[in-house]
Symmetry: D2
Subunit: 356 residues, 4 copies
């Protein structure tokens, strides 16, 4: 089912951009785990818009309320259901989009699939807003993973053509994570250049794409499974659920396709602690679908936000004729900053299932 993910800890997301509530049910979560609600709120805040110059000015509270599954804040073995109220949803803003689909947006696909029954308001269930529900579940899984010594962190790897320093794929640990920063990059000078790029796009009532790099640290070797049950299959199917992702690569990724085996292969060695590790990490911590014990490293490509202020060619669905569309300028010129935490959440959903 398309709104569910996971086979051990299984989440089911519900909600639309402007439904009364959105939320997530988490079935299979172990009993006896105390959820740190403050920490979860901090995690959610990293996704929430409206708190800086770069994101959409809509205010979304994203306050998480648990309606089942906890007794005094501790999981009891029943499915955990957590919800967010959708407030201040101005559905009228979207009425003009009912007839003219935004280029690059899911509007047209929703119409093709559901016709007039689709929920036009705020993009319905296609809205990036549903990543909030994914972040609730992912944020809880991250807490569970930390108890097992597994840590997940992501950063903005690029905005347009500006690239952040990548993680050291061999040595990265949780101490290298930058999720706490207002602008989560490793190299802050690079971050300033990125901000300039975003400001420039915003000024042009345009948008700009980017990439996010994520590391999963502390995994033992031997987790995961072969074929369709491998880490790459699982992570990619979770990460592509985040709207705007158009590519993903693990380790050396597309670069490895340009290399010789003698360049790309990662030699094994006995680490000082007696554990077998690799000297390099072009394999991104995954061999044969299974964790190698090295950090899992992947990068996701986000296309630029499709909602831009510039006039664009489109069609009238009712008239079946060409027309143009100018969208109200209230949009997020670069979603990559907010996407960082979504990528962490997606990775956490996978890792929690693999570890259980």
């Amino acid at each position: 089912m398309s709104f569910s993910f996971g086979d051990k800890i299984r989440i089911t997301i519900f909600g639309q951009s402007h439904s009364e509530q959105m939320g997530v049910v988490i079935d299979g979560f172990p009993a006896g785990f105390e959820i740190d609600e403050k920490k979860l709120a901090d995690f959610m805040a990293r996704r929430a818009p409206g708190n800086d110059e770069f994101s959409t000015p809509r205010k979304e509270g994203d306050k998480v309320r648990f309606v089942s599954g906890l007794v005094n804040g501790t999981s009891c073995g029943a499915p955990i259901c957590a919800v967010i109220e959708n407030t201040n949803t101005l559905s009228k803003d979207y009425e003009n989009l009912r007839d003219i689909p935004r280029p690059g947006h899911a509007d047209f696909a929703a119409w093709a699939k559901f016709g007039t029954n689709r929920d036009v308001a705020g993009g319905g269930q296609f809205s990036g807003r549903l990543t909030a529900a994914m972040c609730i579940a992912g944020g809880i899984c991250i807490q569970l993973l930390e108890k097992k010594g597994v840590y997940i962190g992501a950063h903005i790897a690029s905005v347009g053509n500006i690239k952040d320093t990548p993680f050291d794929s061999v040595n990265v640990t949780k101490d290298d994570f930058v999720g706490h920063k207002d602008f989560p990059v490793i190299d802050d000078e690079c971050g300033e250049l990125m901000k300039e790029e975003i400001r420039s796009a915003k000024k042009e009532i345009d948008s700009i794409g980017g990439t996010v790099e994520c590391a999963i640290c502390g995994l033992p070797a031997g987790c995961g499974d072969t074929l369709f049950g491998g880490w790459e299959s699982a992570i990619s199917s979770a990460v592509f659920a985040i709207p705007a992702v158009k590519g993903i690569e693990f380790g050396a990724g597309f670069e490895s396709a340009r290399l010789c085996g003698s360049e790309n292969n990662d030699e094994f060695t006995i680490a000082p602690d007696g554990v077998i590790r690799t000297v390099t990490n072009n394999h991104g911590g995954i061999l044969g679908g299974i964790s190698s014990g090295m950090p899992i490293i992947f990068r996701a490509a986000f296309k630029p936000t499709p909602s831009i202020g510039k006039e664009q060619g489109s069609v009238s669905l009712s008239q079946n004729e060409n027309t143009t569309l100018t969208i109200n300028g209230r949009h997020d010129p670069c979603i990559v900053k907010r996407a960082v935490v979504c990528v962490e959440a997606a990775a956490a959903l996978v890792a929690a299932n693999m570890m259980l």
Copy 2:
């Protein structure tokens, strides 16, 4: 379960590189479909090694035998089971790999997961040989899809730094497919350069990576689903099941992360036949996880074959000490040629499930 894929047509793969048989069970396949066994054999032959200078010299027959699910060659509604005999498997060749894992290969992961219980011979269930089972199922699905007007074709998009001409992502049709060619590229001159690159790697007892581009043509708009049920999630989870894949991108993919929205958005227009189409296809035929009616276009990155003849550093699993490894030179210097049909098969498994 890691050896199964699909929720409407569900395949389950079994076998190891050197097990008596390998095969696939296909549950949910519609009754009354006559399988063209000659066509399937041609499809399988594209994956089979041993038929040119570039692939591994092992002879693998890959003759498909149907043991259930058909009556006089036509599906009867029972699960279809098809098998391939594994013959001429020289398990002794692999005995020296029992203690020293090949860099870049799943050997180490198999040991980490299964310890001494793993099947060392030929890489066990981690072997690329299992893609033959995927190709049986994919080859049958391709026949089913063609009956519905959906066509799938892939080509070698690059070998090392040599790039083939890409598909015209807006206008590609089945007439542009090159799967029938001995060396499946669009630009044969480019193909000659690729061959030279492969010969060069082979001469160096090394290997070289590459990419495969795939197009799914003829899909109506509105197929697929949102969130975890989208085309990108489904295709990526199938394609990463092919060993050696380390990256995937849809439409403009990673390039879209460098673009502005005004560059990346694909404007809608009424095509001459009255159907709504897009002028460009940076979205790769997928919007919000759902087919837009444009060709679905994606590229997969294959790392170079890890088994190379050059001496490499590794470890002795039994002694837990560093050592070196030199692998018998009988390996495939570039798997990308044979991977083309595997990518088509993976895409077909997804498309058949989405269309049913």
Copy 3:
């Protein structure tokens, strides 16, 4: 996952007896269906306790609130989430049960599985109260099925040793259904005897078991699947999710085990309308797991409510010693009346998945 059911329309239930809310997410429900909320409320009211002399005096509103998936009361293709607030939950009442499990109740199993992390209040997720969530989903599916000409009705088939007239398994139609009655039996005189039996149990601060018979009418022949995908497997797995069910039988059921083939076989005949039907219906509308076009008929056995006022032997979990337990007399002396609608709901979940 244990709180989910269905592969086409998939429901996920959440909540505990005393959690803030309980509810259900329905994924895969077709878009464009207008839910009749009044009709659903009537359906829910049949399960709600507190409205007659026989059921538990606790007041449960069971007012359904839709928080996602509908636009103006019509399904939009997003998962439907509907919730019920849990009000007036007196968790203190259950504190004395924390240490001493009720004989026949899930208390002990919850402790064995979850230990001190279990939710003691009201039986946690083991409470019969969660059938309300099942009824929301089932009630919606019943509306969907009616649009397809499929009707589901159940009645109290027995209380203790008092048996209602069974459905005419060959000719039953929706006109024979009795769900609208205060006491849903076919033979009202028989119903009076049942009531007397229940009053008698109540007076003895005891409880009494019973059976429910259910019919699914209007199904075409050929729905369902073989082996694990048959109607009997699907219905039984849904019906046993209702607490207190200890047996199920289809058609002649256990009686057929006493018969000869010549007695039990249902001969085929061409009905006046030209359709093939059977003369008798010992097969209960299911042959080889698949619908035969005859009414599907099954009966479920409900054990007596375990919570009774009489003193019973039990153990102290903390002291690991024998003790006795006397439960506060506020219990439902016979749940069968309220179970009728739950059985209909379970059957509807199955039928909606089979028909889609």
Copy 4:
């Protein structure tokens, strides 16, 4: 998918009565388990027909061949595939059934679902013969369970109106199992009466139904899950996959529906070994879907074999008119003896998944 069962150890069955092979793929089976093939052959022999006066005279070898998943007889973590060759299949015998469905048999349902595409020979995938594949998987799971101290045994509980002594539901252990007997009953005198009943049915070219009782011993308390994930749901969905099963009940089952709570409730007590047990076992070892630590006890009702020698009324599918049918007398007058091992297999599939 209807030919698959289980979420941890997942089996997928393939084959038809007269397909070249039938078999099963077992995914998720733990690595490092040595399968006792002799013991498995003995298990299979209990299901195989043709070895006494009561079963169908068809010879079925049912010799199990493992084609993948084992290395030197020990599981390696890859899916285990085991097959049985279908030999001596006289498909011509069934040609006369193509037009006239047997009363009580799946013939008609197969036609309703698949029309002329169905596999008529031997009942296709609806044949009881597919229980052999279930027995392969179940027989392997039984071996796995025994390593964990869990034992499963069933016996013929009744044939027609003749009833065997039931298991002592409180004290039953593996020492009470009778699967090794030629005629698996607890009371052999009773068994003689049953045989007489079967001989009588055979003489009348008729058939007779019966019941099977099954016990699962050695389970710890706390296994299983709530709602749709409970033992009753799981066992019933597996057991109803065995053709001819029309009813199932756990513990006191339908009898409990006639009892008062004070009669039906099982009081808890501290057993001499300090473990909490119940004094009686009307709950059949399952409370709230979860194992209580007492033996799990259930009974399944088998209808009489539909294929009988007596003339019966039926229809011509091609002519859509009434006719009569006389089936060649080669049928099994009572399948209950052979069903005993199938019930054990179904129970083992569930228990292995619950225990893993």
